[in-house]
Symmetry: C3
Subunit: 172 residues, 3 copies
Amino acid sequence: ISINQIEETNRLFISPVMLSVVVEHIFLLVLVTLISVLQNAFFATKVEREGKEHHANTSAFERVSCANRNCMDSYPTFLAVLWCAGLCLNQAPAAFSGLIYLVARQKYFVGYMGQTSQSTPGYVFGKRVLSFLFLMCIVGIFNLLLVRYFGNDFKDTVETITTAASALLLIP
Amino acid sequence: ISINQIEETNRLFISPVMLSVVVEHIFLLVLVTLISVLQNAFFATKVEREGKEHHANTSAFERVSCANRNCMDSYPTFLAVLWCAGLCLNQAPAAFSGLIYLVARQKYFVGYMGQTSQSTPGYVFGKRVLSFLFLMCIVGIFNLLLVRYFGNDFKDTVETITTAASALLLIP
Amino acid sequence: ISINQIEETNRLFISPVMLSVVVEHIFLLVLVTLISVLQNAFFATKVEREGKEHHANTSAFERVSCANRNCMDSYPTFLAVLWCAGLCLNQAPAAFSGLIYLVARQKYFVGYMGQTSQSTPGYVFGKRVLSFLFLMCIVGIFNLLLVRYFGNDFKDTVETITTAASALLLIP
């Protein structure tokens, strides 16, 4: 059997194996993304209904529209850090943190709608979860550089630590 | 030939083969993304021109700005479901649905601009296409779990069905 | 050694090798994404502080809020072309162009805040960088089609040219 034959078999067998491996390594991220899409749909429906019922001029419509806009403004940032953290390190803690972010977002949206117009919550929310996902990315890339230039693979250790640390996000 | 040698050849040959396989499995998605980027640029140019000509206070500017903002609000959601559906199941029906969404978005934008200020279209559009892409993701993940725990691969059947179903989106 | 055994070893060795290969091919893109996330956080903090200090009604708050919103509107588009260009062709020039876009965005944001209310910069910024990334995607896909149907691989040549061309973006 020659190198060429191995390359041939590689070409033949890599494609399906590879794709299933890829999907297995991202399916939790996909699930969290789908839940976030459902939440976006819920927010959009609220805005749509409020706008139709109250002719888009009331304070209630303004509040729900503003809450939705603030959530949408930070949505691409959330997706970016979620997927980077999941790809660079490990999908499980990333997906778990993503879920916590979605809960925080739901609370923010509901809180914003229920507020009287005097005091509204700030523009930023979910800072802690986003910082944690951000740190996961940094650690993942740092680990990759270590592996490449020093040959030490701390990935297993780091993954265990991040999985444990992600549970700390539950503390309010 | 030993296991080690195979691993070595794997390391050598995997990289280029893998990347071309990856690009082949996403290039339709990339194409649809590029078309959507062109459309975004078209929207942004409209807003820019309207703002410069009419000093940002007229009702025409407000309408085009609002239409653009509504389109941009749902853009990350669209990209997320498009790519998840394409990766989890099959890129061809996902890209086709994506194209239909872009047509719906164009209609929405043009319709919004042409409206008199009394009646504007709602906040949400393209619900049917986004739901279809959402369903594709669910089916893709469900299929993966089936394969893993029962060993049945319905992927080919499912792909055929979704490809056929995506044609149904054309019915207005 | 039989084909089956090779497939088995493939399944065993592909997963870790593949993931490290994937991460190696995207880590510059991840880095640029992380820097852009930091910048988003900086923008959001500015908006948050201005809103708290000045009770959300002053012209300064309106300006910073509008600048932030314009930046956020084009953020998903930027991420999409950055990652498509990086995946389809080469991550190094894509990440370099991404950095230049982030510098242009910072300048735009600071310029928007410092403006008097008479003249504000337009809605669109960073057109040149986004067009360059867009072109990179087109070239990458075109190259893939060439490879598939004609067997000529211009990827190396094209990568050298784009890397050189990305330096031209520095010219103001």
